[in-house]
């Protein structure tokens, strides 16, 4: 949908910011002047409520915390061919001691 908008802008140049031609009931029904109003309505009725619902979903999922998996020293994981150019060279950039074990196991 978003790609269509981009494609129509590319093809029509300066004339582009009109409603997408005949795709979807809302676009077909909108007049020239109503373009911004339609997208404003879509923002507050569809887009932002959709974000809110997903936020609620994440909040509910976070209520039951998962136990972290047991450490198994698999050779194909936690690869250290070359030390990282920061700190002691053994921790990744977003290292989280609680969920990221070092090659030798969890730190805590």
């Amino acid at each position: 949908m978003a790609a269509l908008g981009r494609a129509s802008r590319l093809l029509l140049g300066a004339a582009a910011p009109r409603s997408l031609p005949a795709r979807g009931v809302a676009a077909a029904a909108a007049h020239e002047e109503g373009g911004a109003r339609m997208w404003k309505t879509l923002t507050f009725v569809v887009a932002l409520p959709g974000v809110a619902v997903c936020m609620l979903n994440c909040y509910l999922k976070a209520q039951h915390e998962h136990e972290r998996p047991e450490f198994v020293p698999y050779p194909h994981l936690r690869i250290r061919t070359k030390r990282f150019p920061w700190g002691d060279g053994n921790k990744t950039l977003f290292h989280n001691p609680h969920v990221n074990p070092l090659p030798t196991g969890y730190e805590d």
């Binding site: 404003k40 923002t43 999922k61 690869i79």
Partner: protein, 261 residues
Amino acid sequence: MAHQAHSYHMVDPSPWPILGAAAALLTASGLTMWFHSNSPRLLIMGLISTILVMFQWWRDIVRESTFQGHHTPTVQKGLRYGMALFITSEAFFFLGFFWAFFHSSLAPTPELGGQWPPVGIKPLDPMDVPLLNTAILLASGVTVTWAHHSITEASRKQAIHALLLTVLLGFYFTALQAMEYYEAPFSIADGVYGSTFFVATGFHGLHVIIGSTFLLVCLLRLIKYHFTPSHHFGFEAAAWYWHFVDVVWLFLYISIYWWGS
């Protein structure tokens, strides 16, 4: 004063192209010094000079267009071609990382346990924060379109609100991704799964930051009356880039987060 007999823009001599090249050289050699000689000094010089060149070069373009009127329709057409070609090149850039992901995930090797995700990897739940991030980017696509229509209809207040919402959604995405990176039970060093995941999503995140910055600059220019209802290509370029970032995320979400879990 002499007038030009054509509609193109013959740009005044500028130091930014060559200084930009020098900044790129400093950055590239700086990365090497950091990785191999444990010294970040050259890299920091490179990054600072890159930012300074970008700021001054684009500032000059705003001066040439908004304040000096050099951007005729002909010039604008060239800029449209340029932005479209640039975005196309970025699409190919991401194509490479998707190729790498499918190469490794469609035929997982015995070293990984012959499965995808590899043995020992607990992938992120695609219906958790990644789904929220999808909703955020899709919503920002709607708000940036609202902003565009508001600009063409000369609704200043609405345009500012819509573009501000877009920028905030972009920052929200970045904050959530940073948190996801910190909370993920796997890292970039976790074999080819980690490599493909973090390089693909990492470059995407970088593009979200770039796109958000571009949109923020447009918001500041919008507030300062730089755009007219019929001439606002800087905003259009930012909106195109933002839609591109959204589309890349959709591909990432479907292939790496969803199919790959």
